[in-house]
């Protein structure tokens, strides 16, 4: 029997650009052309001013650790506990859930406000997940 897999995202027309971006090694956000609001998750209008004139752009991929839990039980399929489920605040403003790689999954190593940078984890030919690791330097 195959190992249980972690949950696989399935893009929609509104989110396809985001998943095309991660496949190309880019973290893509959206900015409102009318009010300059930067937002996530993807949608083809601005949730701040309702303008439909919005642009996709490549984010810096930099951010900091806003909060997290270290999940012990029950573990999600495809995960070996304990593992951290984090929320990262991006330099551009939006926050996103993610995992922190290249870092012990301990309260001592996972310091709130630590600087992070995006990395990409290929799940299959269609989906590459954005994850984060401690920023270098």
């Amino acid at each position: 029997m195959a190992e249980p897999q972690r949950a696989r995202p399935k893009p929609t027309p509104e989110t396809q650009h985001f998943w095309d971006g991660t496949k190309a090694g880019e973290l893509r956000l959206q900015r409102c052309d009318a009010c300059a609001h930067i937002y996530f998750p993807p949608r083809p209008f601005c949730p701040s001013c309702a303008s439909r004139k919005v642009s996709v752009f490549k984010a810096s991929g930099n951010g900091f650790l806003y909060s997290y839990v270290i999940n012990h039980r029950p573990a999600a399929p495809g995960f070996t506990p304990p593992y951290a489920i984090a929320v990262v605040e991006l330099d551009e403003g939006p926050r996103m859930m993610s995992n922190i790689i290249d870092c012990p999954q301990t309260p001592e190593a996972l310091e709130l406000d630590m600087k992070l940078e995006v990395a990409f984890e290929k799940l299959d030919d269609n989906i590459t997940l954005p994850v984060f690791r401690p920023a270098k330097g």
Binding site: S67, I70, N71, P77, I85, M97, N99
Partner: protein
């Protein structure tokens, strides 16, 4: 909405609470409903308005044989029943119906006839949260708490004391699941679930249900039970994704619903004799005390750790033992409402002497939704 125009005239939980292996979820709805109808001295045919969550109104109405002219299927998680109370009060005032039954039941432990919960992979949660290993409420609901602790200087010991104090209340309640006294050390040594939360800081998983019956305050005086008036109400939603909350330092839904209810009731915090804050996890009472404006967030942890919410203290909080020690079938809001009604009737196992105003504050999802009801026993 005008205050004290609508009253609770029937209130009951399922005959049993805890582990109920001999009844389906739908039958638990019926058991709670029949108990509430008996409590109000009514017949099923007297009910012309109906509200429930998760199960559809048509499912429960058909099972019970109710023919409603007003229904509400608002389903926003565990506080849905606070929203039902608010909507029912408005409907009664508007003349859409006269007598509303609100039911909740969940076979949360035995899982008999329980509808499956799923996160489709093309939903926003399925795309942007599920791939990172969230798996049930314990992996999601506590995600804000480390930020909240850092911002306000809240300690692990203070968060543990929430469970300790609520166990003190539960010890006074024969129907509570967990009654053995516990210490802060017990909490901090219990099994790790999702750091920083351990087993005793997470809600129970049980079976049960409850039901309420509301009618106009003018009719309420003719019922066998002391009427409990709806003094103020509030509701809001924020986001189904915990990662997308505006901030982890507070809940926008709490900060909207709570003050709305206080304003409608025309009360100040010093007027509150009894308080329920839905405690799926130990941080919720701290968010609630801050977001409802009882005190600055920085003081919430110390306030509870210092014993200010325990039996006999100045702000009795979660007096049934709460979701941490009384019961938690999955959507606990109904049990918080039941305890507020008991306190206002003067029939609670751990009765707060002379309580006249009770505030009942609920959460739905992971800070996704909120509803607040202010009750009073004086018109």
């Amino acid at each position: 909405m005008r205050k004290n125009q609508v009253a609770v005239v029937g209130a009951a939980e399922t005959t049993e609470l805890g582990v109920i292996p001999n009844a389906s979820q739908l039958q638990l709805h019926a058991d709670a409903a029949l108990n509430a109808i008996a409590d109000a001295g009514l017949k099923l045919s007297d009910i012309d308005g109906f509200a429930t969550a998760v199960e559809t109104p048509q499912q429960v109405c058909h099972y019970l044989g109710i023919k409603p002219t007003w229904v509400d299927g608002t389903s926003v998680g565990g506080c849905s029943f606070m929203l039902h109370v608010r909507h029912a009060a408005a409907a009664i005032e508007a003349g859409l119906c006269k007598t509303v039954l609100i039911t909740h039941a969940e076979s949360g432990k035995s899982m008999i006839g329980k509808l499956p919960r799923s996160t489709p992979p093309d939903s926003l949660n399925g795309q942007f949260e599920a791939p990172y290993g969230v798996y049930g409420p314990p992996s999601m609901f506590p995600i804000p708490v480390l930020r909240f602790m850092k911002t306000y200087g809240i300690t692990h010991e203070q968060l543990a004391s929430v469970a300790v104090v609520q166990r003190e209340w539960a010890a006074k309640n024969p129907r509570a699941m967990m009654k053995e006294p516990i210490t802060v050390a017990d909490v901090l040594n219990s099994r790790m679930i999702a750091y920083p939360f351990r087993l005793l800081q997470c809600c129970l998983v049980t079976d049960g249900g409850g039901a309420l019956i509301l009618t106009s305050a003018d009719r309420a005086k003719d019922f066998p039970r002391k009427p409990v008036y709806i003094m103020g109400t509030g509701e809001s939603v924020e986001t189904p994704m915990v990662s997308q909350m505006e901030t982890f330092n507070s809940s926008r839904a709490f900060k909207t619903a709570g003050p709305l209810a206080f304003k409608e009731a025309g009360i100040a915090h010093k007027d509150v004799d009894h308080l329920m804050i839905y405690d799926a996890f130990a941080h919720l009472p701290l968010f609630g005390l801050g977001d409802l404006g009882f005190m600055p967030y920085e003081e919430t942890g110390k306030f509870i750790a210092d014993g200010n919410t325990r039996p006999g203290a100045k702000l009795p909080l979660n007096t049934n033992g709460g979701g941490l020690s009384y019961m938690h079938s999955g959507m606990y809001g109904m049990y918080a409402l039941q305890e507020s009604v008991r306190q206002m009737r003067g029939t609670a196992p751990a009765q707060v002497p002379n309580a006249k105003v009770s505030v009942c504050h609920g959460v739905g999802g992971m800070f996704a939704a909120s509803g607040t009801i202010v009750f009073t026993n004086e018109r």
